[in-house]
């Protein structure tokens, strides 16, 4: 981390960048927040550890509108989002100095708390210099340990790899934390009967409180005015007045990002109700791969997305019925 701070200070000092976009230490061991730094003194609060899960590509949309260059810290998976945003002309490559930061998997505090670990006072083992295999947690109720992998975000279990897709320089080591099949969960649901599928999603979606965190954190959801915020649209954007609305919102939101979603997993990370929202996006990705050929959004900043493209031989919609 010190290397990262030193480099940031250098870049600020020599005028390459006018601000640094990274993470600021929080007041609890696990709540660093995305932050801008404009001076060497401010950088004393800079932090980069296992809890820095936020995808800063989203913040680059706003940072691209500011005067001067921004140094942005992007993890390997965040760089996919950045590429995708370049393709959509939502960020300005010239305004960004991309430091690819190493990543050994990011942590989900809820996973730790689910293990009954509460009253957390400090957590060690989550620094980038650590081996990242065990976390030691001091709590009001005694010392606890937790395996790093078990506390990881869902997305890290299906890691896309340790390569940065776009960067100006790379600082720090990365680790491929993949230990599960990306589409395994989707396949499990596909194999269910319609009744089971319906019950599964009804249960999950009934928790939705329409806080819109999934939408607001999503780098692909970068519309200036979301269709769900339109006053002309007579369905409520802030409450699921009828259970239909939660289905409408999540299907349409996933559809709007289909072919553009890089599967960065931010939606599932931020959902206060722990709804596995990635299951929607991943279903679209899986279908796109099957119907129109393998496609990874954000692997580059040029390729045409699957929904803005076609071939004469595309399958007919009836394939949905036929393949069952």
């Amino acid at each position: 981390m010190q290397e990262l701070v030193n480099r940031a200070k250098e870049l600020l000092a020599d005028g390459t960048v006018v601000r640094v976009l990274g993470w600021k230490a929080g007041d609890l061991p696990y709540n660093p927040e995305p932050a801008y730094f404009t001076s060497a003194e401010e950088l004393d609060n800079f932090v980069y550890n296992g809890f820095c899960g936020a995808n800063l590509s989203k913040y680059m949309i706003e940072a691209s509108k500011l005067e001067g260059k921004t140094m942005v810290c992007l993890k390997p998976c965040d760089t996919y989002s950045f590429n995708q945003l370049i393709k959509e002309h939502r960020v300005d490559r010239e305004k960004a100095y991309i430091v690819g930061v190493g990543c050994k998997g990011k942590l989900n505090i809820d996973k730790i708390k689910e293990k009954g670990i509460k009253g957390i006072q400090s957590i060690s083992g989550a620094e980038m210099s650590d081996a990242c295999d065990t976390l030691t947690i001091q709590t009001l109720y005694g010392e606890k340990t937790c395996s790093y992998a078990e506390a990881m975000l869902e997305r890290c279990h299906v890691c896309k790899g340790k390569e940065h897709m776009i960067y100006d320089e790379i600082i720090g080591e990365s680790k491929d934390t993949k230990d599960a099949e990306r589409f395994a969960e989707v396949e499990r649901i596909e194999a269910m009967s319609p009744e089971e599928k319906f019950a599964f999603f009804r249960n999950e979606l009934s928790k939705c409180i329409r806080c819109n965190a999934c939408r607001n954190v999503c780098p692909a959801c970068s519309c200036r005015k979301c269709v769900f915020d339109s006053t002309k649209f007579d369905t409520a954007q802030k409450a699921n007045v009828d259970s239909f609305e939660e289905k409408m919102f999540h299907i349409i939101r996933a559809f709007h990002v289909a072919g553009r979603c890089t599967d960065c997993g931010e939606c599932s990370r931020v959902c206060p109700q722990g709804i596995p929202l990635h299951l929607f996006n991943r279903k679209f990705i899986k279908d796109i791969n099957e119907f129109y050929g393998e496609f990874q959004a954000g692997a580059d900043s040029e390729a045409r997305g699957p929904l803005t493209n076609f071939t004469f031989e595309d399958c007919e919609p009836s394939i949905v019925t036929e393949r069952r």
């Binding site: 319609p194 599928k197 259970s243 289909a258 119907f291 076609f310 009836s318 394939i319 949905v320």
Partner: protein, 145 residues
Amino acid sequence: MSIEKEFRPKIVAFCCNWCSYAGADLAGSSRLAYPADVKIIRVPCSCRVNPMFILRAFQKGADGVIMCGCHPGDCHYSTGNYYARRRMTLLFSMLDYIGVENGRTRVEWVSAAEGVKFSTTMNEFVEKIHSLGENVRLEDLRCKN
């Protein structure tokens, strides 16, 4: 005391202006019958059909939604229906994924000359929806009486 009301499905058909709507017209002028349960909404091109339209139709009480457009290759705007095809494929797959009965949605390509196809398609579709019954998985209770 209640009289069991016969189930009359509500079907929404999105028809493109250039082919399918003309096909429906031809079916009419050729006196080919199709159930009155089908309500046609004319759209400039099948590509105009936003996935939201389909969900909206269900929300407002439809039991089945069918989209008709020009045959691939015959689109008035050259390529509109190719995009529509991809979109509807993905949407239908998603609806299937969340447990909505297969068959409540359908896409059929109907040209202006295919009055017969239009009428048989609609007859088939209405029958299918009859067998599936009322739409409850994508209903909005506020819109039901």
